[in-house]
Symmetry: C2
């Protein structure tokens, strides 16, 4: 399945015109979140840079693919330093992405379709539609999830330092691991 | 002159395929650094996001245009907090950019041409050539300058918080102001 998923992801990159190096193309992370249905709930990503000050990634989404609801909590580093949760800016580069954050809205009033069988784990429905050139900044510790439109999407993510292992997902079945 | 410069900058954006909103297109900053020769020593930029944690910009460069040599020093905020100098990652999206940082190299061994009349103010020549998809991270407080190749360039800059007014330029004639 992942060979096919990888080919689909590479097809989105090619269509979008976003340039990745050959090495980056071979190292795209396919995050399936342990749910075993990557094209439904999953996310492909390339980390351009991640250091203790800032992070930049390209998020590559298949048609109608959903990144499950999660938040970036405040954390305490090994050094005992307290760090405010990750703050991130999503900028749509290609396609359309439907982003949902805390606030007004309900599951039956949105453009996206909550992934079937996972309805219990999607709880915020304040809709932000991002087309190419549009962006939105998500405050720390704010629940959010997002879904690509019908042709997929490419989203640049600019943020403070990224520590994916600290993310808290609403769906208790989720494990933030790389797929094999 | 700036109407023409602005048209040229917009032409580069259009050629590159990078999508900016209409508002962003009207608000592109043309930084001439007080040298009054924007197409020679200048830089056009769009700030996507700049907060106290991270910054993301798109740098738009005319053919063979040069961003003058400078560094991002450690600073002390009004709150007395000490902040390490800005760290930044340049990722070439379109065209070619010749980047020079501290290290080995000399003015006569590089691909770029030091701007005529400003030779005294270009002192580092460790060459990094960035083509689309290639990137380089510049440590804090490191002298650097960069020049676009013959068709211009678009460079995504990911960084820690940006405080342009704190930049230290090698050329004492430079004032970091917006052109009229």
């Amino acid at each position: 399945m992942n060979t096919l998923a990888n080919q689909e992801v590479q097809g989105i990159v090619k269509q979008s015109g976003v340039i990745l190096t050959d090495l980056e193309l071979t190292e795209i992370e396919l995050a399936g979140f342990g749910l075993n249905d990557f094209s439904k709930e999953g996310l492909a990503l390339v980390v351009y840079e991640n250091n203790d000050r800032y992070c930049a990634k390209e998020l590559i989404m298949l048609p109608s693919q959903t990144c499950p609801e999660h938040r970036h909590p405040d954390i305490v580093l090994e050094s005992k330093e307290k760090v405010t949760g990750k703050m991130e800016t999503f900028r749509c580069r290609w396609g359309v992405v439907y982003l949902y954050v805390e606030g007004q809205g309900s599951a039956d009033s949105i453009k996206a379709t909550v992934p079937a069988g996972s309805e219990d784990y999607y709880t915020v429905f304040n809709e932000v539609v991002l087309t190419p050139g549009q962006q939105y900044t998500i405050p720390p510790n704010t629940l959010h999830w997002f879904q690509a439109g019908p042709k997929g999407a490419i989203v640049s993510e600019f943020s403070s330092a990224s520590r994916d292992e600290c993310d808290i997902f609403t769906d208790p079945r989720i494990v933030r691991v790389e797929e094999d």
